[in-house]
């Protein structure tokens, strides 16, 4: 008899709490290093202020590496392709509100972590398809890693990029707008154009692991990640990124992972503050959320398949009487509007092409999951 259960729980949170900045990104030597800045979203209030931030990296010789864009409006990128391996760096952020500089943040001075060497092996897990005479189906692909980095802290971080090139054709229907009912009346299909929908999938959480207990602080045949068979068969690229990280970064990332993955078990660690290394220069006790590391990343291309653009018609269009539709508005524009506003159609006799599979080329981004029915 199981008597323990898990129930929903809502806490009464106070409104209007001042929440800290979140600064995400690492100084990646030899590459363009992206940085994001945001504010912790309050569960209760959700009030956002209009901030602007400029990023730059400075090294101990005084050289400045500026960012290209404003960190709040979009991802800021700092070109570190000319950075040296053996000097210390730190990230600087100046934050403005209503054109007034309100705070200056900086990371601590950081030495680059040594580069890692990586190898991997994979193993495939199959299952027999029910109702067939022994037809095997790939369930998942698992990757096991060997990682070493002499002179590093023994803490590693990796993630993979999975690029799935899903061919799709959006068929634009023809329809009339009925002003009385306020709905679009489907009149049939028309060929408007052909688009390829790309789905870029990567794990939500970078994996971190400390090999301090291992011989030479090396990981040997350590389980790294797995890819569902369905995705693997459609994948065009699988790229593995591995780097050594400082122990502080390992602890920070472990903590935010644990904080977010608390299973509520009896011996779950108590959630707590994740101690980053970015602080307010004017008030060093005020920390931003985030940990900046400096490293040279090791990229390994596990899969590089050339998948042709096979176009398949998709029965996808939308009817949304609430929003109405102006004449001349394309379906793709409608999709984009829905996507950005997060709207869903309702009571549609036709199939909705979910927001996850819109014209990725047009929207300049992909999605992390494949569409229903694909």
């Amino acid at each position: 008899m199981t008597v323990s259960c898990v129930y929903d729980f809502n806490a009464d949170l106070p409104l209007g709490a001042d929440l800290p900045f979140v600064i995400e990104g690492d100084i990646i030597l030899g590459e363009r290093s992206p940085f994001n800045i945001s504010v912790v979203n309050s569960v209760a209030a959700g009030v956002k202020k209009d901030y602007k931030a400029s990023f730059f990296v400075e090294d101990e010789t005084g050289k400045i590496y500026p960012s290209t864009t404003d960190g709040f409006s979009d991802r800021a990128t700092i070109d570190m392709s000319t950075a040296l391996q053996d000097v210390k760096y730190r990230l600087r952020i100046d934050i403005k509100h209503e054109d007034k500089s309100i705070s200056h943040y900086a990371s601590s001075w950081l030495s680059p972590e040594p580069e890692v060497s990586v190898s991997y092996r994979d193993s495939s897990i199959y299952r027999i398809v029910p109702g067939t005479a022994g037809t095997k189906e790939l369930v998942s692909k698992r990757y096991y890693l060997d990682i070493s980095s002499p002179g590093s802290s023994g803490c590693y971080c990796w993630e993979y990029e999975l690029l799935i090139k899903i061919p799709a054709t959006l068929s634009e229907p023809t329809y009339d707008f009925d002003p009385i009912s306020g709905i679009l009346v489907h009149r049939g299909y028309g060929w408007w154009g052909k688009s390829v929908c790309w789905s870029v999938s990567q794990p939500a959480i970078s994996t971190v692991f400390s090999a301090k207990a291992m011989i030479n602080q090396e990981l040997k045949d350590h389980y790294g990640f797995s890819i569902q068979g369905y995705d693997y068969l459609r994948a065009s690229k699988i790229k593995l990124k591995v780097r050594a990280i400082p122990e502080g970064a390992f602890r920070f990332l472990s903590t935010i992972n644990k904080n977010s993955d608390n299973t509520g078990s009896v011996f779950s660690p108590v959630p707590g503050e994740a101690m980053g290394n970015i602080y307010n220069i004017d008030n060093p006790s005020e920390l931003a959320v985030g940990y900046v590391s400096v490293y040279k990343q090791k990229e390994t291309l596990i899969l590089d398949a050339d998948i042709p653009n096979n176009f398949h018609p998709v029965d996808g269009y939308v009817k949304n009487p609430l929003e109405g539709m102006t004449e001349g508005e394309s379906e793709l524009q409608r999709f984009q509007m829905f996507y950005e506003k997060g709207y869903r159609p309702y009571d549609s006799p036709t199939r909705w092409v979910p927001e996850r599979c819109i014209n990725c080329e047009m929207l300049m981004r992909g999605s992390s999951v494949y569409p229903d029915g694909w």
Partner: protein
């Protein structure tokens, strides 16, 4: 070996006597009369007594070495021919050199030492029966001999013994003799001639003539005789008081022992004499069990013209000074049925009271000892669990749990439902010292907290000291939980079996030797949770795992004599939990100790040596390459001793010390399996010697006031530093009357051993640390005050206690701290200061069919980072300790339909414990992350639970071999979904509440006693 022990004992006695006479000497007590040897005590299993008439001391005067001593309490050892004296009821009897006693008067009777007077060579004392010429003298000799009389209840021994034991072969044979003294010669006469002479003396009035005051001249025999009291020495008492069956009051108009066995009878003690109305009479006696063994620590509460309360001595004896009048005397002790005797006290006298064990009770009532204690000593925060009450209380799965029963007391809270630790007055769980027979138990729970490690069938007492400032038990900052097992039964082998849903248990006890001086007690408990796990649903994450535990107890008790005993204890427990084939958690307690105890009226001390061990083993790994084992261990060797000396009535001096040697294996990591690439690592072991010494003093200048104080000096010598910390405690009691008492207390505490954790509850693999140059001892102080009131004839007890305490250097873990196998553990810890305060209210109903208690506690406990390592939790501001639960209400009740059938219930409502919850979320490395509030800034929902149990007690038949005790109950009757903890999932940003028991949990528990 026996000789060595005896020699040590004698040396110790002499040392202590010398010490006490030098250090604490008082002229009256240590005058020449009291410089003799301590009177001999006899084994319990000898029928009869070695004494002239009764066990009791009677007032009188003694001519010793040419000096007259008045106000002496006197008893005559007719087996040894010795005089036993003491000057107060609390003093141990002393045998002065009998060759220096020329005469003495005892309760008006005159005894002379003929040898001292130069008359004949016969040793011993003679009672002068008449002042005639010739003078009639009487002598009693008790001879230790063998032989029993199973059919006539001991008639052969020549006098009545209320505690006569058919199975004992030794007895004191009664040998009276009569003597005539005339013309400087003494001649023995037979009983018939003595009777004739007595009759003649009575006829001519010389036997009962009014006395002339006797002025003896040393070295000269008396010229005028002083008649003794006309004690009917030839009369014996029947075994049952007259009128028992008729229900009329029983009148025992003799100065002989009364065997008070029955309730609702009126016993008349002593003879009515003139001028006795306002004089102090001595009421003495013995409290014995069914085997005739004296019962120590029985609480005796006298109601009536005068009221007093005290405990029986080690041999079961007691003595009180009262005026004539009617009294009701209550006798109560743990595990015994309360006895209530009504007496009419007309003169000094004694009586023996038989108390029955609870399991075969004829009557039942709750112990009111706690009430008496609270009005009698100055201790605050001491709670003694009534084991009979506990055995009735509902328990999860029917597993009776004495340790967890402490949670029903005010000021004691659980870390979490079914978790291992408890919080006492806002302290952390490692600040509680858990002692089992004097051994330290480092992790007192099985199965991560489902069950505690103490087999309930063998437990005799559970005391909890909510103030950590107890000199005798120092070393922890919050509380001491002192659990003791029973001594094995010395008369017969008996045992019990308990069947529960999770565990089964048994115990067996009995004598080891024919002399019945040595007894054993073994107990064992084992789970069958492996069996349960294999039957979990397929989708359960624990299916296929294994979980098991057991514990075993051994106790051997050897009674050297009435005052001295040796005890040997052994204990081990083991737990193993394996969720899968690679991961296991194993932890073990192992304890052993040897105790030497001495208890008498005057002096008690105990010495012990032992070993306490706690070891953990973790096996874990994600694959064969990372498979590892981590072993840690806490080893403690200890030797300690305590002594208490009663200087005189109301003044006790104590002292003692201990030496602890710790050897902590911080961790040893090893690869497991051939493929493992784990590097071995050993954290350097830590060791420390922690000696301590203390002295204590308890002084009661009168019945209303008691002052207790102690000073303790403790130290810790570790690898790289040395600490020396003085601690003190002072407490005082002032009683307005027998029902209302005020107490105050102040004490300091220090603690050199720490446990650090970063999980929700106390984990068996949490790390223990010794204080060193970086991790400083926890130090602090606590003050408390209380008011206690008993109402309606002790039916109700009301108490209010308030406390405030401060501690420094309590170590909290930083977020994400790695506490296991960490060479630099200090860097993961944050020293904090703790302040805790609260008020505990309690109302207890002691008697009646409905009994129990209600308590409400308001308390707070807060922490603040110190600046030791420049890391601050919560930005250095005060934050709530995990144990902060401001409101705690408890209602515990029993309703007895009959003596055998009853219901018990527990209602508990308390504030939820503090938690840290997310106030926001943010995006980081591709996912939603939670931003947590300041530490412990919120609470889980308040806790409410109601349990109920229907109890069917043991049958009343004393002859039945088996007795069944059945409990049918339900835990969490209302099915409230109490939150054990709350947590959030990062992706969905939803809060969840984990409820351990989210529905009513019914159970049946069966216990079989083998008598």
């Amino acid at each position: 070996m026996k000789r060595i022990i005896k020699l040590l004992y004698i040396l110790l006695q002499l040392c202590l006597l010398a010490l006490s006479s030098v250090s604490f000497g008082q002229e009256s007590r240590y005058s020449m009369l009291y410089r003799g040897m301590v009177a001999r005590k006899y084994a319990d299993n000898i029928n009869g007594t070695p004494y002239w008439d009764t066990l009791s001391f009677k007032p009188g005067s003694v001519m010793f070495n040419g000096r007259l001593y008045d106000d002496v309490l006197i008893r005559i050892n007719a087996a040894e021919g010795e005089l036993e004296v003491k000057n107060s009821k609390d003093m141990a009897p002393i045998c002065p050199d009998r060759h220096q006693v020329s005469w003495f008067k005892r309760n008006g009777a005159l005894f002379v030492n003929l040898q001292y007077q130069g008359i004949g060579n016969r040793e011993g004392f003679f009672e002068l029966l008449s002042d005639s010429s010739p003078a009639l003298l009487f002598s009693v000799k008790k001879i230790l001999t063998t032989g029993n009389d199973t059919e006539h209840n001991g008639a052969h021994i020549g006098y009545f013994d209320p505690s006569y034991n058919n199975k004992s072969v030794e007895y004191f044979k009664y040998c009276p003799s009569w003597w005539l003294y005339e013309h400087g010669k003494i001649v023995k006469i037979n009983r018939r001639k003595a009777q004739k002479l007595k009759d003649r003396l009575i006829e001519d009035g010389s036997f009962s003539a009014s006395l002339k005051e006797w002025h003896p001249v040393d070295n000269l025999f008396m010229e005028t005789f002083v008649p003794s009291l006309n004690k009917p020495i030839l009369t014996q008492i029947d075994s049952l008081p007259d009128g028992y069956f008729s229900g009329t009051p029983t009148v025992v108009s003799m100065d002989y022992p009364v065997f008070a066995k029955y309730k609702n009878k009126l016993y008349e003690i002593g003879l009515q004499r003139d001028n006795m109305q306002n004089s102090d009479l001595v009421l003495s006696g013995n409290v014995v069990d069914e085997n005739g063994n004296g019962l120590s620590d029985i609480l005796i509460y006298i109601e009536g013209k005068e009221e007093s309360s005290f405990k029986s001595k080690a041999d079961g004896s007691f003595i009180a000074q009262l005026k004539t009048g009617e009294y009701r005397i209550h006798f109560s002790g743990e595990g015994m049925v309360e006895q209530c005797i009504d007496i009419v006290l007309k003169g000094s006298g004694s009586f023996t009271v038989l108390l029955h064990e609870k399991t075969t009770m004829l009557d039942e009532a709750l112990v009111s000892g706690e009430r008496i204690n609270r009005h009698h000593d100055a201790s605050l925060g001491l709670e003694r669990l009534d084991l009979r009450d506990i055995s009735k209380l509902p328990a999860i799965f029917g597993e009776k749990d004495l340790f967890r029963a402490t949670l029903s007391l005010p000021g004691v809270q659980s870390v979490g439902e079914l978790s291992a630790g408890i919080n006492v007055r806002g302290g952390s769980s490692d600040q509680n010292l858990v002692l089992f027979n004097g051994n330290t138990i480092f992790y007192p729970s099985h199965f991560f907290g489902v069950n505690t490690v103490f087999n309930p069938d063998i437990i005799e007492s559970v005391d909890i000291y909510k103030s950590g400032a107890i000199a005798k038990y120092g070393g922890r900052a919050s509380s001491v939980i002192d659990i003791n097992s029973r001594d094995g039964n010395k008369e017969k082998v008996r045992g019990g079996i308990g069947l529960g849903l999770l565990t089964s248990r048994f115990y067996l006890e009995g004598p080891l030797t024919r002399s019945k001086k040595t007894s054993f007690l073994v107990g064992m408990r084992s789970s069958y949770s492996d069996w349960i796990l294999k039957r979990l649903p397929t989708e359960s994450e624990f299916r296929g795992g294994s979980a098991s535990f057991y514990d075993m107890n051994l106790g051997i008790h050897h009674k050297i004599n009435a005052s001295n005993s040796l005890k040997l204890y052994g204990y081990t427990s083991s737990d193993r939990f394996s969720p899968d084939s690679l991961n296991s958690y194993i932890y073990r307690n192992i304890n052993a100790s040897l105790h030497y105890c001495h208890n008498d009226d005057y002096l008690n001390y105990d010495m012990s040596v032992g070993y306490d061990g706690y070891a953990t083993r973790i096996e874990q790994g994600m694959n064969s390459y990372e498979w590892l084992t981590v072993n840690t261990a806490v080893n403690q060797l200890f030797t300690r001793g305590n002594v208490n000396v009663d200087l005189n009535s109301g003044h006790t001096v104590g002292g003692g010390g201990e030496i602890l040697y710790y050897y902590l294996r911080g961790g040893q990591r090893k690869p497991k399996g051939e493929l493992s690439r784990i590097t071995p690592l050993t954290i350097d072991p830590k060791q420390a010697i922690q000696p301590s010494l203390f002295v204590s003093d308890t002084w009661s200048p009168n019945d209303s006031i008691t002052i207790e104080g102690s000073v303790k000096l403790s130290g810790s010598v570790c690898d790289d530093c040395f600490y020396l910390i003085p601690d003190m405690r002072i407490s005082g009691r002032y009683s307005l009357d027998q029902t209302t008492t005020f107490k105050v207390e102040f004490g300091t505490v220090s603690q050199y051993l720490h446990q650090v954790t970063n999980t929700m509850v106390v984990s068996p693999v949490d790390t223990w640390l010794l204080s060193d140059s970086r991790i400083r001892p926890t130090k602090g102080w606590q003050t408390s005050a209380g008011i206690y009131h008993s109402a309606n004839g002790a039916e109700y007890d009301l108490s209010i206690e308030a406390y405030y305490k401060r501690l420094n250097h309590y170590y909290d873990a930083m977020s994400g701290a790695e506490l296991i196998m960490n060479k630099y553990l200090f860097d993961e810890l944050v020293a904090t200061r703790n302040k805790a305060y609260g008020v505990e209210l309690s109302i207890k109903k002691n008697k009646g069919k409905l009994n129990g208690w209600i308590s409400y506690t308001w308390s707070r406990s807060l922490l603040q980072s110190m600046s030791d390592n420049h890391v601050f939790l919560n930005q250095g501001k005060w934050y709530l300790a995990s144990s902060d639960r401001p409101h705690d209400f408890k209602l515990v009740g029993n309703y007895d339909f009959t003596r055998r059938y009853g219901v018990s219930f527990v209602i508990n409502y308390c504030s939820g414990h503090p938690v840290t919850i997310p106030e926001g979320f943010f995006q980081y490395i591709g996912g939603n992350r939670l931003y947590y509030s300041s530490k412990n800034n919120y609470r889980i929902p308040n806790y409410f639970r109601t349990d109920i149990a229907y109890n069917i007690g043991a049958g009343h038949s004393k002859k039945a071999l088996l007795h069944g005790i059945v409990t049918i109950g339900c835990y969490n009757v209302t099915g409230r979904k109490n939150a054990y903890t709350v947590y959030w999932s990062g992706n969905a940003l939803r809060g969840y509440k984990l409820s351990i028991f989210s529905m009513p949990v019914p159970y049946v528990s069966i216990k079989v006693l083998i008598k």
